[in-house]
């Protein structure tokens, strides 16, 4: 995205446009002449986000209301996005659920729902977008994953597994289409103060959505593959991954 004419608006698709991380990222992009296509499930919330970006000076804001769990409807929505924007320069995938780990431990349906939203539906989007960007021979695919995908922990391993699988998928996709000029960026936020974490007490490790947004945009600018945001999570996760399995399994994390 570095070499572009500032007069031409950047085409940006946001999948999960009411997520706090997505909103903070879009606000920063709005000042940079962006044309948005926002996709989310709740139309009132989507309208509130669209008005905010429009007021902040976005070139244009289009919206599309849909439940991204409905993978059968992805192709139609993405084709409409490409058509309305003229060209997609950046796709940010930011939808996801934390899910109920406790329920998922005993009821497979809960686990399946988490895996479907965070992994399966994302794979569907990535398949379409990966091929679109590959054919275009340019573009950035930025995907909000999580540090939780780096190692399974008893407190949220179903969510972690969905993000871990996503990380592996993104590694492979990058390996395939990076050579065609497509940036595939895996974003790994740590704790972020969002509705997803509103129920837990916030400690010093919590970042604001805007801090994460800054990290995402920096990683896009610098053409990174994987970005821990904030950056100190790289070191935390290096430590956590270094703990030997026979010790790790006894820990309460």
């Amino acid at each position: 995205m570095a070499k572009r004419d500032p007069q031409v608006p950047i085409g940006v698709v946001i999948l999960g446009a009411t997520s706090s991380i997505a909103i903070a990222t879009m606000r920063r992009l709005a000042a940079q002449n962006a044309h948005f296509m926002l996709v989310a499930r709740n139309s009132d919330r989507l309208t509130a986000v669209a008005q905010d970006l429009h007021t902040r000076g976005a070139f244009a804001v289009d919206t599309w209301v849909m439940d991204l769990d409905d993978t059968a409807a992805h192709a139609e929505m993405l084709a409409a996005a490409a058509q309305r924007l003229g060209r997609i320069d950046l796709a940010l995938i930011s939808h996801g659920v934390l899910g109920d780990q406790h329920a998922a431990e005993t009821d497979f349906q809960f686990a399946a729902a988490i895996l479907h939203t965070n992994f399966i539906s994302t794979v569907s989007l990535l398949t379409w977008l990966g091929n679109y960007f590959q054919a275009q021979r340019a573009g950035t695919l930025a995907v909000v994953s999580s540090v939780a995908g780096d190692r399974g922990r008893k407190s949220n391993y179903v969510y972690g597994a969905s993000k871990g699988a996503l990380n592996v998928f993104l590694d492979g996709l990058r390996n395939r289409i990076d050579r065609d000029g497509v940036q595939v960026l895996t974003i790994k936020p740590g704790f972020v103060a969002t509705p997803m974490t509103a129920h837990v007490p916030h400690n010093a490790l919590f970042a604001s959505p805007d801090q994460v947004a800054r990290g995402i945009l920096k990683a896009i600018e610098r053409g990174r593959d994987v970005a821990y945001v904030p950056g100190f999570w790289l070191f935390i996760m290096l430590l956590i991954r270094a703990i030997p399995g026979r010790v790790f399994k006894k820990m309460n994390l």
């Binding site: 706090s20 009132d44 509130a48 008005q51 902040r56 509103a198 007490p201 916030h202």
Partner: protein
Amino acid sequence: MSPRQDQPQFESWGRYPKYPAELHPLFWKEDFPAANAPESKMLAVGMGRSYGDVCLLQHGTLLQTPNLDRLISFDSQTGRLRCEAGVTLAQILDFAVPRGWFLPVTPGTKYVTIGGAIANDIHGKNHHVAGTFGLHTLCFELVRSDGTHVVCSPTDNQEWYAATIGGLGLTGLITWAEVQMRPIVSRSIRYRSTKFVGLDEFLALSHASAHQEYSVAWIDCVAQGRNFARGLFLAGEHDENPGPLTPLDKPRVVMPFDMPAFALNRTSVGAFNTLYYHKQIGKRRSGLTDYEPFFYPLDRILKWNRLYGTQGLLQFQCVLPFDSGSLGMTEVLKAITASGLGSFLAVIKVFGDAVSPGIMSFPVPGVTLALDFPIRREVSFALLDRLADITAEFGGRMYPAKDACMRATHFQQFYPQWQQFSAYVDPSFSSSFWQRVTGLG
């Protein structure tokens, strides 16, 4: 969304009093639990920059609004800005100043939400020409606990408009508001500061600069004798010569720890005040400054309230009507200097006669004084009580947003309209302040 279980404490800016409460962050307007209101009472809170207990509710549910931070519309021709209630004045400035617009009224901190600005009907250095924030609030939406949505303006639902402006958040949840911004062509403020000694000189300076958009004075509440009521009078206006509008990117200083209480005593405060007074060598000084240090000198130090340590501070602000002349304010200042509890910064200003639409609004024409005190069990509360007595004696009133300890009798004397106002209080809303000064639930 369920409220957090573990009750992390929400503190007001004075850090006194401290009460446990459920915290319920609102992320979207529809998160307001109107239909299934909690058993306990509710109160909407923003940045917690009011000093005492108007933003606290013991054993209640605090609806936190700072995530309701979306802009809704902006008309770059007329300067009308509509946004959600949790948007802060800092966020508005970041958005509006580069576009050539400024806040119509701003207090001494930009870290307050628009909802809080309306609920406390805040005032600033331009009160003598512009009145309170409420006068520039074109309309807003009020959501009641019974689920009704009321769009209030000077022409629609005007009784709710009048009750909610300065209504201390008790009439329901403000979800969005529209404000009339003021055009500027530069970030700069053209200012002049003048040393004065005595209230009469302060009043003369205020009178002489009544045409200036902004004016305020810092006054020494420690010095006695021939230095009694010495201070610096500051007046300013937006620069009329086109200049830069883009923001400065200066690092801010955060108070990293709580100061021990012994660090604040008469000697250190006196020394600070002497330094501050003599920082300016000549009688007058003038020039151009960015609006940030002009309006928000203390915002440079985030969390400056930590200077007072964990036990917190008490703030006092009163206004005394003009007809008492400088007599009443002299009494107030004498009581403060005699106590030896004076703060780093006491601020004195003349309020103008622009009438706020808010029935509970604090400012009335006269002279207002604001300062903070450390909490010393034996003496601080007695002093504030004495100051409230003097305020009452001279027909003045105190500012709820700054108060943590005024007596119910004083409040009811200052605001005899409180009973008329109480008809508009939402049955599911309350605050620790309201319970304290009315005895109502």
